[in-house]
Amino acid sequence: MKLKFLYCTSIFILLLFSVSVNAQNENETNETTRDTLKYQQKYGLRVGGDLGRIIRSVVDEDYTGFEINGDYRISKDLYIAGELGTEERTTTTDFLDVTTTGSYFKAGVDLNTYTNWLDMQNLIFIGGRVGASTFSQTINEFTIYDTNREFFNQPYSETPDQEFNGLSAIWTELIVGIKAELFNNLYMGLNMQLKFMITQDQPSGFENLFVPGFNRTYDSGRIGVGVGYNISYLIPIYKKDKKVIVDNL
């Protein structure tokens, strides 16, 4: 519940950001200047980690996770991006207690849609990913769902400790987020992912309740969601000039 609140807050903040940034942008285009100023733009590799997963690992005893991510700028607005992570999650309902452990890899591109002022290098990006995960799932405990369980007054539970190994899944993601430069070369980012499962190995006589990198699955379909809070550092490799006049046209 706490997490849901965090997610919702982050959505709200992201929305707020995109609106206020748009407003700034409009002002800028209204007062078009014809200066031919040049600003140096840094190109390089940005590497970082997911703070959200670390915090959640500390706060939530049913979760342990870690993710490193990176992007490499290949043109003014285009970045190659990827994530690598590992997660362990115990899903507990009234009738099931299941632990999923595994790691994942995601690769794709980010497109910066934000026109920066002056020499700033912030991002509001939209991107795509293909994700893959290998994992195992263990049924720690289950209780038979029986609407008559009150009658004999003994709901039946079992602790089979049954493990399903070598499971895998492949999915695609649409990702939207921001990356803001807080200090020189140090970036803070928020993003949201909407995921669509392409294929997954389902354990026989059971199903995947959680897929590392994809997050929880839903009975009703292939859709999944995710949120990331990143902190990253840009390792500049070379610089390129940005002509402001070109951007304003």
Binding site: N22, L96, T113, I126, T147, N148, N153, Q154, V176, I223
Partner: protein, 189 residues
């Protein structure tokens, strides 16, 4: 920038909608989960017809004939009942299929049980059910259910043949109990 504004906002709204619409953490009532044993009471002279049992009382008993619980019936004189089945391990200690036995008292004219008139009393029969169970995964919200398989011939039978019976015959229509759609056992009286 402008051309991306609407896709981004749409994306967020869609995500929120997808999120909030997910309700599958609650097991829907319509989901077929662990079934009870559906029994119909039929007329011995015309087995195609249902025949209600007057003032029926149904009590589950243990091996020592001590009552466990009384089943709540929808109608006082039903022509069909659903008996809960006890869920137990699939396999016994030796790794063999676990055979479970439970007993139900079916008492006809139960409203007359306490009067002192011997010629106008309730009639008690005991139904014994012998079966094995199997666990089947349903969904994230419902977890696992149990389905049951009645033992051939002895799966459902009347025990304790005294001269004071109202049940004439018990027949198994379907040994496999995985739903409550149709009668699995018929009681002729």
């Amino acid at each position: 920038m402008k051309r991306f504004r609407y896709p981004i906002i749409t994306f967020f709204i869609l995500t929120i909608i997808v999120w909030s619409c997910e309700r599958d953490d609650i097991c829907a009532e319509a989901t077929q989960t662990t079934p009870a044993l559906f029994i119909e009471f039929r007329d011995i002279s015309n087995p195609d017809d249902l025949k209600s049992v007057r003032e029926l009382r149904v009590i589950a008993i243990d091996e020592d004939d001590n009552p466990i619980d009384t089943l709540a019936l929808e109608s006082a004189s039903p022509n069909a009942i659903s008996l809960p089945l006890l869920v137990a391990p699939e396999l016994d200690e030796n790794g063999e299929v676990n055979i479970i036995t439970i007993r139900y008292i079916l008492e006809k004219n139960s409203d007359l049980a306490d009067n002192d008139n011997d010629t106008n009393d309730s009639t008690i029969d005991i139904l014994e059910l012998t079966y094995s169970n199997e666990f089947v995964y349903v969904s994230r919200a419902c977890g696992f259910k149990s389905i049951f398989r009645l033992e051939p011939v002895i799966g459902a039978r009347k025990i304790e043949d005294d001269n004071d019976d109202w049940i004439i015959n018990v027949s198994i229509e379907n040994e496999l109990i995985e739903n409550e759609d149709e009668a699995k056992v018929l009681i002729l009286h």
